[in-house]
């Protein structure tokens, strides 16, 4: 069953002084429920715009009434952020609320929806999933970058989303922290069965995490390749990255992006 369906998507981005640039045109793909899909491409190609369209933060532009441009999540057209979708931003410093403690940040999506007691249960559960149960009362600025990004992940998980959209979430972290967080994300992915759409410009990361890698290219951009990753799960940094399936998929993605040398 397809969780996300995207058909002939067009999207424009406004620049200063109102001039609009067509960034995406004719983008079509599906993401199945419980699937991990990465979207790759050079910087500025429109990966983030695509993710924002999926999140309902950016409206796709239909140039004519007859256009078949369509974005659907769980069989409903996306108009504004859909219920059951969480977004994790790249910049954790500006997306956590610095005046709230870690627990209160994670609690934010649950406010007004669950009772106080239920919220506490969910917050504890989410913080345990990201390994931050002991930093419950810390303030975000007291934590390292990796930990702050974990808090953001916990906040996204607290509402038990059907789909998790992630915009280069580990892009600003050092290599070791990044590897840790990738493994933690895979554990969470396996444990919760949530669908993940993951934007990155790191080929290794995309291949290591995903079931499929979609490559976005061109101006306006469309999906130029779709590369399945056959490596079995559970995956581990050491073994998976040495496996022939991993190397084959990485080679393929490399080829699509840089061409054959």
């Amino acid at each position: 069953m397809a969780e996300y369906e995207c058909l002939n998507l067009r999207a424009e981005v406004g620049s200063r002084r109102g001039a609009k640039r067509l960034v995406l045109d004719g983008v079509s793909f599906e993401v199945g429920a419980g699937e991990f899909v990465s979207i790759m491409g050079r910087s500025g190609v429109g990966k983030t715009t695509l993710l924002r369209v999926l999140a309902g933060l950016h409206e796709p532009s239909a140039d004519s009434p007859t256009s078949d441009c369509m974005v659907r999540f769980s069989d409903e057209a996306v108009a504004g952020p859909p219920e059951g979708v969480s977004l994790v931003f790249q910049d954790y410093t500006s997306s956590l609320l610095p005046w709230r403690s870690v627990a209160r940040n994670v609690e934010l999506p649950l406010e007004g929806r669950l009772s106080k007691a239920d919220r506490q249960v969910r917050v504890t559960e989410a913080l345990e999933m990201v390994g931050l149960a002991d930093r419950h009362d810390a303030q975000p600025f007291e934590l390292s970058g990796g930990m702050q990004q974990r808090v953001q992940l916990a906040r996204a998980l607290a509402s038990r989303p059907a789909a998790l959209l992630m915009d280069e979430p580990f892009g600003a972290l050092d290599a070791l922290t990044k590897a840790d967080l990738e493994d933690q994300l895979l554990e969470i992915f396996t444990a919760t069965g949530t669908t993940v759409v993951f934007v990155t410009h790191d080929i290794e990361e995309a291949v290591y995490l995903s079931d499929r890698v979609l490559v976005l290219d061109g101006s306006p951009a469309k999906i130029v390749a779709e590369i399945p990753v056959e490596s079995p799960r559970p995956r581990t940094q050491m073994h998976t990255r040495e496996s022939p399936e991993f190397l084959r998929a990485r080679h393929r993605v490399h080829e699509v992006i840089f061409g054959t040398e």
Partner: protein, 247 residues
């Protein structure tokens, strides 16, 4: 503190021994004596209460208007585009220049003093609120949108707390300005409060008493600022205010 005591000491010596022969410059001891008389038998306390009351009330009203209008202008690009030019022009006029006009319109009254205090106090709060709201990280706004928060919820949970450090700067500047305007209004218009006490003492050729009022106004300013600071600290813990009160 020690420096202040030393200055008072030197001042005392200069005046006592007529080294500085300035007419109507009282020695600190004379000021102290006048202060004692004015506190226990005179009008200082009543005047102080009047000025504190008008400053606080005017500042309160100005802050509510300033924050409310600031939120509107900060959040709505349309409102911002249509009104910022007129605000910039109006803001450039020093509030004190409105004193004669206010005097003509409202007469020698409490109303005139209050109007002046409110008018002057709105600006710093308004400008800082707009700035605070407009500089909120776009990610933070998106967080609110993703959670499908209503506009009031977004304002309460995201916009106001995020803009708070900047709003507090505005409130603080506004408070000092309100006190200045209250005293000015009392000097030229409304015949009450510390400002009027100052003028009365001058007219009665009582320089010591005059200085009592000068010092009272100064101490009041310090006290109001300290009060605001303590309140802000109590309500906004953490690092949110470390930049605001760095001085």
């Amino acid at each position: 503190m020690l420096v202040l005591v030393a200055i008072a000491g030197i001042w005392e010596v200069l005046v006592r021994f007529s080294i500085a022969d300035v007419q109507f410059l009282p020695a600190p001891s004379e000021i102290a004596a006048a202060a004692q008389g004015e506190i226990f038998g005179g009008e200082l306390v009543g005047r102080l209460i009047h000025t504190v009351g008008v400053t606080a009330l005017g500042w309160g009203i100005a802050s509510v208007i300033g924050v409310g209008l600031g939120l509107l202008l900060g959040l709505s690009p349309t409102a911002y585009r249509y009104s910022m030019t007129s605000f910039e022009v109006t803001r450039a006029i020093p509030p004190i220049t409105f004193v004669p006009a206010a005097l003509l319109i409202f007469g020698f009254s409490l109303k005139m003093e209050l109007v002046l205090v409110i008018y002057g106090g709105i600006w710093p709060v308004l400008i800082n609120t707009i700035g605070g709201v407009r500089s909120i990280a776009p990610e933070l706004r998106d967080v609110g949108t993703m959670l499908r928060l209503s506009t009031p919820e977004t304002i309460r949970k995201i916009v106001l707390p995020a803009a708070m450090p900047s709003v507090v700067v505005g409130l603080r500047l506004g408070l000092s300005l309100c006190l200045v305007l209250a005293v000015v209004a009392e000097m030229v218009g409304n015949p009450e409060g510390l400002g009027n006490g100052l003028i009365r003492a001058r007219q009665a050729l009582q320089p010591a008493l005059m200085f009592v009022y000068v010092i009272a106004a100064g101490l009041l300013g310090v006290a109001l600022n300290a009060g605001l600071r303590a309140t802000a600290r109590a309500f906004l813990p953490g690092n949110a205010l470390k930049d605001v009160f760095a001085s």
